[in-house]
Symmetry: C2
Subunit: 283 residues, 2 copies
């Protein structure tokens, strides 16, 4: 872990105390960091840009439900650098006030991502509404504070403990292989640790085979691609922006050459950062 | 339009009467179709599989907010064929009960996609919660039936008219270039009209440069790619399934050759359908 110099750093994240982002931040930096919970992902980016927080941590991808597209969009809109990466296994718990039974529940609150990770469990229930809230841990806080006895929340074990709530059912995610990949962003472009992975975003010239040609700049240099993600280009329907992760560090010459080559066929290109890969399951 | 023989067909869609999917279906097939509103996207697929409806229509992509991933996943899980495509410009209206003023509103209901398309408008409001509901038109119905005077819904003009509601603010989408691409699915694999576009889904062997190689089967045959979308492979964290749209029809030899070539480097491949491209803005 690449955290030794930042054990007391202020780290911003989306969600309430004991959100999964906070747990990931502590996994990465240690338990002694100071935390800045934010209401929206955008607030995380703003807090780091305004230097209210040294780092921000954002979920970028879940192994069950896919990319968190809002954060891809925000990486483009804001001028922060990816300096680190961390993976966390996500165990979702069904949490209710003490004494409440499963058959009492009529509504279950959680972040849309968490609801999606528990789709099979939720569809197995009869006459229960799943309601999207802005946060997992915040949903626990709400049903606790409002003493809601026909409601439950989906959140982390720590969130349940924090509010002295009951775990009605453990590990309700669809399958146990449920991991989230988080990125650490900073205004300061110095990577934490030994970078071996780079993320870029680009849009292509309108030329035949543009996508093939843009991937060939990596293939021709034996650079492995780890992920490709497309997002719509605003104001230009059915044109796309591509986010690409590849193996390598921008301090390496073959990576710089590939990016220079890529610039020849793109209308826009931004290197989001080189960083040390987290120890993701299977990655 | 490729609809002449199906003017009275039963068409399933997600949402309540006057959902955008219904408007798109009528744009495609004409006003005389019979409609089967469904609660969830999955119900649309099930209704078509059970032949309760001849066709299903599903939104697959929006030019502002990107792909509707749940429908990509469902295309894979179910055994239906894409037989047509239609594009619709989406104008979102802020709708309330008669007499309600904008400053009375404390909560705004709509489908998450619609809320996302109106992000700029929503963030410009103070002390107003945006709450995700299962449907745009259904949200109008709810605030109408419950006579909610501090609530508004985001939905189509037709939904407002249907419930004799007031349009508080017109065209609140972030930018006017807001189009949704819908697919027509059927159990019967006969395309409507003249197919010129094909969609496939595949997962790749774990070989170096696999993605580059899979795109090269099209580039080597001068086949243009229109879209690539990646989705997580369930149970195998950080491996992906790719959805690809390309120009051509599986009745053409060079397309069949490309797919045969692609099969050499994939572990799984499914042709979702060849169909006539809709007249999308810029597509």
């Amino acid at each position: 872990m690449a955290n030794k110099n930042h054990t007391h750093a202020m780290v911003a994240f989306q969600g309430a105390h004991y959100a999964f982002s906070e747990i990931a931040a502590k996994r990465y930096f240690g338990e002694d960091i100071r935390i800045l919970p934010c209401r929206a992902f955008e607030d995380v980016f703003n807090a780091v840009e305004a230097q209210e927080a040294r780092f921000g941590i954002i979920p970028i991808e879940n192994s069950l439900t896919g990319s968190i597209h809002r954060n891809y969009d925000l990486l483009l809109e804001h001028d922060l650098t990816i300096v680190g990466e961390v993976f966390l296994r996500i165990e979702q718990q069904l949490i209710a006030n003490p004494g409440v039974r499963l058959e009492d529940i009529r509504v279950i609150y959680s972040h849309p991502q968490a609801l999606e990770q528990c789709r099979l469990f939720l569809t197995s229930l009869k006459d229960v509404d799943a309601v999207a809230s802005y946060d997992t841990a915040g949903s626990v806080q709400m049903i606790h504070e409002k003493k809601m006895l026909q409601a439950a929340a989906i959140a982390s074990r720590l969130a349940a403990q924090d509010y002295q709530m009951q775990i009605l059912k453990e590990e309700i995610e669809d399958i146990p292989e449920n991991f989230t990949r988080f990125l650490i962003v900073s205004k300061n472009a110095v990577p934490l640790g030994e970078p071996n992975k780079t993320s870029v975003v680009f849009s292509m010239k309108n030329i035949p085979g543009a996508l093939f040609k843009s991937l060939s700049v990596f293939a021709l240099r034996d650079i492995d691609l780890l992920k490709i993600e497309s997002r719509p280009l605003r104001g230009k329907p059915w044109a796309y922006i591509f986010y690409l992760d590849f193996v390598g560090d921008m301090r390496q010459e073959h990576c710089r050459n590939a990016i220079r080559h890529l610039e020849e066929i793109t209308t826009f290109l931004k290197v989001l950062g080189s960083y040390e890969s987290g120890n993701g399951q299977g990655k």
